[in-house]
Subunit: 344 residues, 3 copies
């Protein structure tokens, strides 16, 4: 990466707490891998390093001049629109994909993921939890928790309710971006930083953490933990679980392949290969001992799930008479309901 | 059905997108099976076929005259109230229960279900997904997804947040109608088109899809999939699942009988007969092989669940020592907690 | 308890229905066990019994005088602030911890729990369901269900949406109080009356009922039913269940000890001792027969879970080859992810 090419940048609208600190940033049009001329224009004003600057009148003029010299008139128009309406505009430049050092960098990276400008696991998010603030997400916007009690009391005394929808380090994605071709029945369960492929439906019981998501068409009625990616044309049944690596779970990085079905109330603690089914209600962890059977039911071997997880087109089930967890070949094709998926 | 008798009708308040198209309709007082004189008055103005008309001044006058001739003064008063306050009033007439052809017809049918004017499975909803639009449901009402980015940016530039609660074809029921005698702890999980019997409590983990619901008193802490109906005095435990037929599940139409209990984190993929219990944590699909036992524990036969699902007053359990799924006679009476259910 | 010492009190801001009845109360600063001089000042004006009074000008003056005589100037300032801004101020005094007799008493007790002024099970809440009203919780505040249809219609005719977030006897906690040092990713799932220890994270799939909660650091991605308390440094995995005693469940009072992990989609119907793990996907009820094994896998005995539930540092699992539920000694230490928990 040459010095003059930016990793990404965004003009953002910020929320500040009562102490004047930035606590949240909304980037309406984040940009990944900008053209070198655009990168050069921005860095000529703001410097070549990762940097966040507040847009005051002087800087606005300098940026506009630099951008117009490179024929970036649409970027100037967007900047003008923001700066004329709001006094709380910043420009965040990421030159190098270091661990996020500020709230503005952290939010820019989360936006890049949810705008589908980069895939999960492709950004350096080390230390993200330490950078983000725990905030109250309300009908009056993000509020610092230190400011909250007074704001709640003021609202009630004025006859209003301050609706506190979430107290979290991550906001919900849809208040920032709704990517093309998705349905999200209950948006409180998809964090900013989720990556949802076109054709994805997240039902009410679905959940998607940051740096996680779906690669294409999918019906998600279960939980996609942080870091988990679900392949194209797969289905997570209602209440199903993918084990995360952040808390409680093991060290295996979990994923779900293409054309998979994890049944309702089922779960996996290992990467599921393409074309596999886990039957409803069965939780298979990485260490679960499984009887691997051939097509006529003969035992090939007993192995931990993580030792056979590369096998495609298999059904994981618990034999309902013997109680044994089995892995058997699967030849039927899974297809998602066309009517449900063709009208996003 | 004679030509002059309507299936149903409603005066509705509509939301339009920036292109002027109707994207959503709220019917405060939908009517099913109107009296023949009322039907005749409406069809004399609007014609005898399924039809949606916008109420302008001329049509308002014509309708009022026709209605007053049949002594339908309360209907006229309601029409006057709507039309005087809002410029976005329609009248939707359904003469014949064909597949819904428009958003106004689709919403009218969903209202009829949630107003308890007709039971699940009693309306023709073929092709419903294709008729409904995928919309952003926000604190500013329903918004066309094409209009959303500009609306979000405008809100933020004005210092506000556009809260996007859902991106879906179906709205939440309670923003249209809260039927008598129910509690719904978390309304985001009950779609318009759900049918909730009087005495139903939907706890936070409960969920009810459209064309599905409960027939009477019920404690619902699990998921009622599209098409599923739960009988009177039954209990779906926390996180329990009823397998739907729309996606992933099989072809069996699922229902839950009267006086049933599906335990927490349990699930069923077959119709559960009256008085049955599925123990907590056990998922029984239609094809699950089950050992059917008599009252003293003797094996009667081994059968798939769907083959014995007509048996009432049974407990489905997994023997915790042998791992075998068993179906045993049940004589204890299940009763919901009176204190919880008597104060709706 | 001497006559002059109050159990608790609070100045509250009330919501009334269209009939003028109090339906909801917000206590910004509830007080438990006030000093005897403060108790004496309040009871000298309001009497020594449980009592709720409306603050009019006369009473305001009397209270201010009595409080100033005991140097309670901060209380007077708070009272002045409330009364000057709002005409809907009450004072609720609880002298004796009887079953709640009014909405104002019931709400005060729920506030005491969520403000961490007293622990779950320490208050008399008998008959609580009968005292609380089932209300619509909306963006315009609490609304009596009898008033709701007219309010919904008015909102829509004015071009607005009346957002009905919940129809329930209990409001969400965070619209009243966010205790220090917690994250609650989705606040709709924590009722007022929950007790959340400092260092608790409630993820999107977590849930906490009233009179229930966590004693300290905890990662809660499962459901804490009414009455259940989770010990310090424990983890409820995604979708896990703790069986309540209100409905459907048994008579055992459930709790989770310190340093426990209930795995994803697992569940318990018995009190879990310190240092225990229930593996993902396994539901163990009080009556589940369990094979108790020693450290080398020898069977000690077969017993119901409730008979061995006092044993600490055990793993409950279902042997994936035999299908038998087993309880085995556990020596590994469970530790929650530090990065996740150190930034609340």
């Amino acid at each position: 990466m040459s010095e003059s090419v930016l990793h990404s940048f965004g003009f953002g609208i910020v929320t500040r707490n009562s102490a004047g600190e930035i606590i949240e940033v909304y980037y309406p049009q984040p940009v990944m891998n900008p053209e070198s001329s655009l990168s050069a224009a921005l860095t000529s004003v703001c410097g070549p390093e990762n940097n966040t600057v507040e847009i005051n009148d002087v800087l606005h003029e300098e940026l506009a001049e630099a951008l117009l010299r490179t024929s970036e008139s649409s970027t100037v128009e967007f900047l003008n629109k923001l700066a004329e309406s709001s006094p709380a505009i910043i420009l965040c430049l990421i030159a190098t994909d270091y661990p996020p050092q500020s709230i503005s960098e952290a939010y820019l990276k989360l936006h890049l993921l949810s705008h589908r400008l980069c895939k999960p696991h492709s950004l350096n998010l080390d230390g993200l939890f330490g950078v983000l603030r725990n905030l109250a997400w309300t009908n009056e916007g993000a509020i610092d928790l230190n400011d909250l009690p007074a704001r709640q009391l003021s609202a009630r005394l004025a006859g209003n309710v301050l609706e506190v929808s979430s107290v979290d380090k991550f906001p919900k994605m849809t208040n920032y971006i709704v990517p093309r071709g998705v349905r999200i029945a209950h948006t409180a369960r998809v964090r900013l930083g989720a990556y949802l492929g076109e054709g994805t439906t997240i039902m009410h019981e679905g959940f998607v953490n940051f740096n996680a998501g779906t690669e294409g068409t999918a019906m998600i009625e279960g939980r996609i933990s942080a870091g988990v990616v679900v392949g194209d044309n797969s289905d997570l049944g209602g209440g199903s679980s993918t084990m995360g690596t952040l808390s409680g779970g093991g060290k295996e990085i979990i994923s779900v392949g293409k054309n998979c079905l994890v049944g309702a109330n089922a779960g996996i603690g290992f990467p599921l290969a393409d074309g596999c089914i886990v039957e409803a209600g069965l939780y298979v962890t990485a260490g679960t001992k499984v009887n691997l059977l051939d097509g006529v039911g003969t035992l090939i071997k007993t192995a931990k799930a993580k030792e056979i997880c590369q096998l495609t087109d298999r059904l994981y089930r618990r034999n309902s008479l013997s109680g044994t967890v089995e892995c058997v070949p699967l030849h039927a094709t899974i297809s998602l309901n066309d009517d449900l998926h063709s009208h996003n």
